[in-house]
Amino acid sequence: MKDTLRFSPESGCLAVVGELTIYQAKAAAEGLRSAFASGQLRHVDLAAVTELDAAGLQWLLVAARLTVNDGEPVTLTNHSEPVCDALALAGIEVSS
C-alpha cells in the first residue's frame, strides 16, 4: 500500500496523497506526529487528496491548530476539490 503522507523535511511540506479517511486515520496521525516532532513541518499540501471523511476532517482540524516555532501556525494549502466539498459540507470556511 502506498503511504498516505509524504514529508520532505527540506521544504517542511507534508503532502497527503489519496484517500484520507478512517482507513488511513492511524497512519495519517502517526505521520503527522512524526513530521511535527521533527520540527520541520510548515505546510500540509492537500492537492492530491481524493477523498475525505469525518476522520480525515478531524485530522485536518487538528493539523490546522498546530503551531511551530514561536506560535506560527501550520498552514493547509492547495485544497483539492474533495477536500473543499467535505469542508463545505461541514460548514467550515476555507481560509487560505
Binding site: K26, D53, Q58, L61, V62
Partner: protein
C-alpha cells in the same frame, strides 16, 4: 475493517424486514386501498431503504428505489390509484429491490439491470412528470403535504461512530436530499491536541439548520440506522412563511384537505405517536445471533442434566441442607430452562403471512380467485421448528389452492361463491402446536383415492380400509390422483416428502375430509420445542422410560382383579373404556412381573390410553437427545435422555403408541388387519 461489514449487515437485516413489511402492506392495500396509514407506511418502507442505501453508497439501490418511492408518493397523495396491475408491478419491484439489496457492489448489480429496466419502464406511466431524473435533490421532495419550515438538528455523535463506519458527513450529505441545508456548524470543542488524539475516535458534533417540508420522523429516520451512535434532536423553528411550492398544486382530497396552519399540529401529533411507537419497539426487540442462542440452549440442556445429578447426589447423601439447596437449585434451573427456551419462541404469524403472497401468485397462475384467511398467528413455537415447517407448509398451501379449491366455473355451478378460501390456523393443544391448512373445495373422494391406490398396487383389492386409512394413502410415496399435471403440484412427489419432513420434527400430519371449511383439512401436530421437555419417569423391569409430562393425564394403580386377565386390552376407568398398552410386552422386556403395577393415563389428540408400568418414579426435566440412525425404525420411541445417575432413559413416543393401539383395536374389531400400512400393523 469489519465494522463496515457489521453496519452493512444491519442495513441488510433492516432492509429485509422492511421489504417483508412492504409485501404485507401491498397485499393489505389491495383490499383496503383507501387507508392513508397503509400508504404512508409503504412509502416510509421504501424511503428508509433508499436512505440507508444512500448512506452506503449503494447507488444501484438508490436509483431504483427512488423511482418506486416517487410512484408511492403519488399514490399516497391520491394522484394515482392502486390498480391490480400496479399492485402486481409494485410487488415485482419489491422483489427486485430485495435482489438489489443483497448485492453489495454497484458493479455487480449490472446483471440485475435488465430486470430493473423492464420494471422501471412499467412504472413510467405512474411516475410523476419529473421523468427519469433520479436521485437528485430536485425531485426528492418526499413529504409534500406540509409547509416548509426551518428546523435545528443537533447531532451528538458517539466516540465509536467512525469505527462503525457511520460517517457523519454521509448523513449530512443525505440530509440535503430532504431539503435545503441552510447552515452547518461543526462543533470542535471535544477535539484534543495532536498528542492526545486517537485518530479513529469521533470528536466532532454538528448542528444543522435545515429548511425542509419533511416531518421530524423523516429526518430522524435518516439516522435510524445508527440510532445507538447518533443522538438526534430536531427542533422545529418558525415555519417558513411561503407555502412549499410542491404542496400547492396538490388536488384536494379528504385527508390532506387542511389548511397549512392546521396541518402543522396534526403532523406534530403524528410525529409524537409514531415516536412513541418506535420507543416501544426498541424496548421490545434487539437483535441477537441465532447461533449464540442455540449455544445457550445447549448449555442449559447440559445444566439441566448436571443439576439432576446434583439432586440425586444430595438425595442419596441424606444431608438435609444439601437436599434443600439442591431443590432450590432445581427450581432455578427450571426457570432458566423455561425462559431460555422462551427466547427462541416466535409467533408463527410471520411464517403465515408469507403465504399471502404464495396464495396470491398461485391463484393468479391458476386463474382462480382465492383468499387466504389466517388465524392463530400469535401462537408461538420454537424458532428451529418454524424454520423447518416452512417448506412442508408451502407445499400444503399450494396443494390446497391447486387441488382443493375448484376453478371458479365449477364453484359457481355448485352454488359456492367464486372466491375460494384457504384457511391457515394454529393453536396449542396439550404440549403440541397444531397447524391446520384447510380449503373450502370439494374435499377428497374416497373412491378415487382407493382406485388409484389399487392401480398403483399400494393396496390389495380385498383390503378393507377406514376413511382415515384411505386418506393416509395420499402420503404414500409415488401417489397422485390428479389427471392434469400442473406446474405447481401434482407430480406425485411431495406428500410423502411433506410427511417425512414433519415426522423428522417429531410431528404428525393427518388429513380430515370434509374438513373445517367443508373441503380438506391437513392437520399438522408439532412439539413446541425440540430441546427440553418436562418428563414423567417410570420403570419397567430395569429400564427407565420417560413420558412427556404434558401428555400425562393421571396415574393410577392397576388393581389386583384388573391384572388377572393378562390378555385384556382395556379397563373400565370411572365408566370409561381405557385401552391399555403393556409396555413390558410391547418392548418385549424379560423379568418377573411385579405384583403391583401402575397405569399412566396419557392423552394425545383427543384419544386416551393407559400405559402399564412397574413403578412410577416422578417428574424430571428431560433433555432430549436424538436416537442414533440405526434406531430410526423403532416405533414408539422418540428419543433418549441422560438421567442424573448417568443412565440412559428412553422417551416414549406417545402419539405413535396411541395410534398403534387404535389400529389394533380397529383391526381386532373387524377381525383382520389392513394391508395398507403393514409396518403399523405389526407390533
Amino acid at each position: 475493517m469489519t465494522t463496515m461489514a457489521t453496519a452493512l449487515q444491519t442495513f441488510l437485516d433492516e432492509s429485509r424486514e422492511l421489504l417483508s413489511d412492504m409485501e404485507l402492506l401491498l397485499l393489505a392495500m389491495e383490499s383496503r386501498s383507501g387507508e392513508p396509514e397503509l400508504q404512508n407506511a409503504l412509502f416510509r418502507c421504501v424511503h428508509t431503504i433508499k436512505g440507508s442505501a444512500g448512506m452506503f453508497g449503494l447507488d444501484h439501490v438508490v436509483d431504483f428505489t427512488h423511482v418506486v418511492e416517487n410512484v408511492l408518493d403519488r399514490l399516497r397523495a391520491g394522484e394515482i390509484a392502486l390498480s391490480r396491475d400496479l399492485a402486481n408491478l409494485l410487488l415485482r419491484c419489491r422483489d427486485h429491490i430485495s435482489l438489489l439489496v443483497e448485492v453489495p457492489e454497484p458493479s455487480e448489480a449490472a446483471a440485475l439491470q435488465p430486470g430493473g429496466v423492464v420494471l422501471l419502464a412499467g412504472l413510467e406511466p405512474f411516475h410523476s412528470c419529473a421523468g427519469s431524473s433520479h436521485a437528485q435533490t430536485d425531485s426528492t421532495e418526499p413529504v409534500a403535504a406540509e409547509a416548509s419550515r426551518k428546523c435545528r438538528i443537533d447531532i451528538r455523535i458517539h466516540a465509536d461512530a467512525l469505527r462503525h463506519g457511520m460517517d457523519p458527513l454521509g448523513f449530512i450529505r443525505f440530509l440535503g436530499t430532504l431539503g435545503d441545508v441552510a447552515a452547518v456548524r461543526t462543533l470542535e470543542e471535544k477535539l484534543p491536541v495532536l498528542g492526545d488524539m486517537d485518530p479513529e475516535t469521533c470528536y466532532l458534533d454538528f448542528e444543522i439548520d435545515l429548511v425542509t417540508s419533511a416531518d421530524r420522523i423523516a429526518i430522524e429516520n435518516i439516522f435510524e440506522l445508527a440510532s445507538d451512535l447518533y443522538q438526534i434532536e430536531v427542533q422545529d423553528q418558525c415555519p417558513v412563511t411561503e407555502v412549499d411550492p410542491v404542496a400547492a398544486p396538490l388536488p384536494a382530497q379528504p385527508d390532506t384537505d387542511e389548511s397549512v396552519e392546521s396541518a402543522a399540529p396534526g403532523a406534530e401529533e403524528q410525529a409524537d405517536t409514531s415516536q412513541q411507537n418506535r420507543r416501544r419497539k426498541q424496548v421490545q426487540h434487539f437483535r441477537i445471533q441465532a447461533d449464540k442462542l442455540d449455544n445457550l440452549i445447549n448449555l442449559v440442556g447440559e445444566l439441566v442434566i448436571s443439576s439432576a445429578a446434583v439432586s440425586l447426589g444430595a438425595e442419596q447423601s441424606g444431608d438435609t441442607p444439601a437436599r434443600e439447596s439442591a431443590a432450590n437449585l432445581n427450581l432455578l434451573v427450571e426457570a432458566i430452562r423455561d425462559s431460555s427456551l422462551d427466547l427462541r419462541m416466535v409467533p408463527i404469524g410471520e411464517t403465515f403471512q408469507r403465504f399471502q403472497r404464495v396464495v396470491r401468485d398461485v391463484a393468479s397462475e391458476l386463474g382462480k380467485d382465492i383468499e387466504l384467511v389466517v388465524t392463530g398467528a400469535d401462537t408461538e413455537l420454537d424458532k428451529t421448528v418454524v424454520e423447518k415447517i416452512g417448506d412442508p407448509l408451502t407445499h400444503l398451501v399450494r396443494n390446497a389452492c391447486d387441488h382443493g379449491v375448484e376453478a371458479p366455473a365449477a364453484r359457481s355451478q355448485k352454488g359456492k361463491p367464486t372466491r375460494g378460501r384457504v384457511h391457515l390456523n394454529a393453536y396449542h393443544e396439550s404440549g403440541s402446536i397444531i397447524i391446520e391448512v384447510s380449503d373450502d373445495g370439494g374435499g377428497l373422494s374416497r373412491e378415487r383415492i382407493l382406485a388409484k391406490a389399487m392401480e398403483r398396487e399400494l393396496v390389495r383389492p380385498d383390503a378393507v380400509l377406514t376413511d382415515q386409512d384411505v386418506f393416509n394413502l395420499i402420503f404414500e410415496p409415488g401417489f397422485s390422483t390428479v389427471e392434469q399435471v400442473t406446474n405447481l403440484s401434482g407430480r406425485g412427489v411431495g406428500m410423502d416428502v411433506v410427511r417425512r419432513n414433519i415426522e423428522s420434527l417429531r410431528g404428525t400430519v393427518e388429513l380430515v375430509s370434509p374438513g373445517v371449511l367443508g373441503g380438506t383439512t391437513f392437520r399438522i401436530r408439532l412439539p413446541l420445542t425440540l430441546a427440553i421437555i418436562d418428563g414423567f419417569m417410570a420403570r419397567v423391569g430395569d429400564a427407565t422410560y420417560v413420558v412427556p409430562l404434558e401428555m400425562v393425564v393421571e396415574c393410577t394403580e392397576l388393581s389386583a382383579e384388573q391384572q388377572l386377565g393378562a390378555e385384556q386390552h382395556y379397563i373400565n376407568l370411572r365408566q370409561e373404556v381405557l385401552p391399555l398398552i403393556r409396555l413390558r410386552a410391547h418392548f418385549k422386556l424379560s423379568g418377573e412381573l411385579r405384583k403391583r403395577q401402575n397405569i399412566i393415563v396419557v392423552r394425545h389428540g383427543g384419544q386416551k390410553a393407559g400405559l402399564i408400568v412397574d413403578e412410577l418414579l416422578g417428574e424430571n426435566q428431560t433433555v432430549i437427545k436424538p436416537l442414533g440412525g440405526i434406531f430410526s425404525n423403532l416405533r414408539g420411541l422418540s428419543g433418549s435422555t441422560i438421567l442424573g445417575n448417568g443412565q440412559v432413559a428412553l422417551i416414549l413416543d406417545v402419539p405413535t403408541l396411541i395410534q398403534q393401539v387404535a389400529r389394533q383395536e380397529d383391526a381386532a374389531n373387524r377381525g383382520f388387519q389392513s394391508h395398507a400400512r403393514p409396518r403399523l400393523s405389526a407390533s
